[in-house]
């Protein structure tokens, strides 16, 4: 085994000494304890003994040279042994001012922390999480690149940058994409309600896991019911009846009357349903409160009032906030089925198609029936497909057999 020949420390204040002479030559045999070389300090000349027995090799300092204490200046090897050469001792004058003297020994390898979080856990730094929540970033979906696989600030920033790239695609000058020959009729700045709608829709699309279920229901009984209300002088719209049905169904399926906030799903104990209303200013969604506890006539009065205020541009922010579910109806435009977008932070939205007469199988016969398509979009993060489908089944049941609501 190789033994380094180290210049011994000489007192507490001596940094460097001068090598005076070697008493042995390169390749010569030495015995532990015999004189090997001499050094000189500012006070004295000293003989230094061989630290081991063997063959003197790799002499790295010559007489007259200044050497640092504790630096290796040769090796003593077993006969026949090979070892790497001793690096030439650094002359003190060449060391940068302020450098520590002896070479720094390699630190003991520290126990490495695991590079990924334990299964089922997401590590995110407080800084990254604060940033993510400020910008509504769905950080649960990010891949962490920080210590222990944690999501760190740069991961959130990378996501935000990628989103910015989506929102504002780089301007291309290629004529194929923006031919200068297309005449612009009008430029409309994205501002006001349009800007709010744009932001909300994009946010919903990007931060939820939307699934849309579509089912066709027999609305013949519903149409008959509404006709009878009108005959009785009670002005009730289909929207009012759907609000009434959805309010009661949500009572039975609270998972759809919910919001996801951070890592918490809140099931609301109140049912407030927003009703999408098309106006000249764009889409507005006034909210009918406590739908599950209101009588149909009360719902009808309330929707009529809200729709009038919406069209007149008189809705207050309070009248448009606090919804826990939304209904949107495109039936008047002859739409059957569509894929409504969730109104955040809600869990689901019900889209209602046109009620139209169609041939259908009824009591074993082909008959002309009133039919309606219902489209339920739900956020799959909060609820699975099967319970969402059961909710839709319940609505269809009450559409087809509204008398069951009397129970």
């Amino acid at each position: 085994m190789a033994t380094d020949v180290l210049v011994p420390p000489l007192g507490q204040t001596v940094d460097t000494v001068t090598l005076v002479t070697w008493y042995k030559r390169e390749g010569e045999a030495v015995t532990q304890g015999e004189k090997l070389y001499a050094i000189e300090t500012d006070k004295a000349t000293l003989d230094i003994e061989a630290p081991a027995s063997g063959i003197l090799r790799h002499i790295a300092a010559q007489p007259g040279q200044k050497v640092r204490v504790l630096s290796p200046i040769a090796r003593i090897l077993a006969p026949g042994e090979e070892a790497e050469a001793v690096p030439a001792p650094t002359p003190p004058a060449a060391a940068p001012a302020g450098a520590p003297v002896p070479p720094t020994p390699a630190p003991a390898p520290a126990a490495k922390p695991p590079t990924t979080p334990p299964a089922g856990r997401i590590f995110i730094s407080p800084r990254a999480r604060r940033l993510a929540e400020e910008h509504n970033v769905p950080w649960q979906t990010l891949q962490g690149t920080g210590p222990q696989g944690a999501i760190v600030e740069r991961d959130v920033r990378a996501y935000l940058q990628s989103q910015a790239a989506v929102k504002a695609p780089p301007v291309t000058t290629g004529p194929a994409i923006t031919p200068p020959t297309i005449a612009v009729m009008q430029t409309i700045p994205l501002e006001g309600p349009r800007a709010v709608i744009a932001q909300r829709m994009l946010e919903s699309r990007q931060t939820t896991a939307p699934v849309t279920l579509m089912s066709e229901a027999d609305a013949t009984a519903l149409v008959e019911l509404r006709r009878q209300f009108h005959e009785a002088g009670i002005p009730v719209s289909y929207n009012d009846i759907f609000l009434y049905i959805a309010g009661r169904a949500l009572r039975q399926f609270p998972r759809l009357n919910a919001s996801l906030e951070g890592e918490t799903i809140r099931l609301w104990d109140e049912v407030h349903i927003g009703l999408a209303v098309d106006t000249e200013r764009g889409l507005l969604v006034p909210v009918v409160r406590d739908v599950d506890r209101k009588r149909l006539a009360d719902i009808a009065r309330e929707t009529q009032r809200l729709i009038e205020r919406a069209r007149a541009g008189q809705l207050t922010p309070e009248e448009m906030s606090g919804g826990t579910f939304t209904i949107t109806n495109l039936g008047m435009y002859d739409v059957d089925a569509f894929t409504p977008i969730i109104h955040l932070p809600q869990c689901a939205v019900l889209g209602i198609g046109r009620i139209v007469e169609r041939p259908a199988v009824f009591q074993g016969m082909i008959a002309v029936r009133h039919r309606v398509w219902l489209s339920l979009t739900f956020d799959h993060r909060l609820i699975d497909g099967a319970p969402a489908a059961q909710f839709l089944q319940r609505i269809i049941q009450w559409v087809e057999m509204p008398h069951l609501l009397l129970i």
Binding site: L70, G98, P102, T104, P126
Partner: protein, 337 residues
């Protein structure tokens, strides 16, 4: 401006304060004897020639005695600068410091002041476990003491002058490898930073830290010698495109918390480097403070680089392993990037 070592800057500070105020005097072991070193590290060298042995007062080898005398003199209206040859010897006088000096003002309802300055060399320099400790945490823990730790000649002079004028007991920790002591008192491996010191009157306020290097990726807090290890590490990291901010708090009590917090709010990462043992070290308190007050700004765990939980070893290679190196600081930074 004059270029000075820390030992020279301290000496000039003492000289100026003694000329300014006849109540100021020095007391210690072998600080003014003819032919002596001028204290263990030459700080008081030559002062007895100007001020005489009445004001550069040598005592027998009894830290309890000399610090007790200094505290009594301070309570009676003088402004003593007491020093011990090695900070490790402060333990001998622990009752005088912790029970008397630190508490008198509180216990007297503010009617008794203890304007004591206590200088103490710290740091491992090849002298074994009883002459090598970093003692800062023992004293930052005691309410009633101010604790300063200058790492440059400018700060050494400015802080010592502030300490002399402060009505509270102030301990100054000085690192042996930073003094720049010459001749037989030169320490092996010393960094001996030489810095510009103004000739005109100036003070460095107690309680204000300083940013030694600006960066945006990680904050490294060091004190005394580890400020220089942190700067070396920052230099290495810069070659890899990592920009480290290096903070020297200069005063440990009261700590310039906002300087550290502002930096962490910027960088999101904190590495604390000190030569003290890990458990209960001063850096543990800084880490706890930042975790409590800037948690939501942190982007990675706080990492501490310190000596292990053993006494400083005498063997020089072991001592080199024991004290934090720039390389360990670099590794610590990389572990949280």
């Amino acid at each position: 401006m004059a270029l000075m070592t820390i030992a020279e800057a301290l000496r000039q500070a003492i000289r100026e304060e003694m000329r300014r105020d006849p109540r100021v005097f020095c007391i210690g072991e072998d600080i003014g004897i003819p032919g002596g070193f001028g204290g263990a590290f030459t700080v008081t060298l030559g002062l007895s020639e100007e001020f005489g042995h009445e004001r550069i007062l040598d005592t027998p080898i009894s830290e309890t005695g000399l610090i007790g005398v200094a505290i009594g003199a301070a309570m009676a209206g003088l402004r003593p600068i007491a020093d011990v040859q090695y900070g490790d010897f402060l333990f001998c006088a622990m009752d005088q410091i912790a029970n008397q000096a630190a508490k008198m003002t509180y216990m007297s309802g503010g009617t008794v002041k203890v304007p004591l300055v206590l200088r103490a060399p710290v740091g491992a320099t090849g002298r074994g476990a009883q002459h090598a400790q970093s003692l800062e945490a023992f004293f930052t823990h005691i309410p009633g003491l101010k604790v300063v730790a200058p790492a440059t000649a400018y700060d050494a002079k400015g802080l010592l002058k502030s300490a002399v004028r402060d009505d509270n007991p102030v301990i100054i920790f000085e690192h042996k490898l930073l003094y720049g002591s010459k001749g037989p008192r030169a320490e092996r491996g010393a960094l001996s930073p030489v810095g510009e010191v103004p000739e005109e009157e100036y003070l460095v306020p107690i309680g204000k830290g300083i940013i030694r290097r600006e960066g945006k990726d990680v904050t490294i807090v060091g004190k005394l010698l580890t400020v220089y290890r942190a700067l070396e590490a920052a230099e290495q990291l810069a070659k890899e495109g990592i920009e480290a901010e290096v903070i020297d708090p200069r005063t440990l009590v009261p700590l310039d918390k906002e300087l550290i917090l502002d930096s962490v709010r910027k960088t999101g990462r904190l590495v604390i480097v000190e030569e003290d043992n890990y458990t209960g070290g001063w850096g543990a308190d800084v880490a706890a403070m930042v975790a409590a007050e800037a948690f939501f700004w942190l982007d990675a765990p706080i990492v501490r680089v310190s000596a292990p939980d053993t006494p400083p070893p005498f063997s020089p290679p072991m001592e080199q392993f024991y004290v934090p190196s720039a390389e360990r600081v670099v590794q610590a930074v990389k572990s949280i990037l």
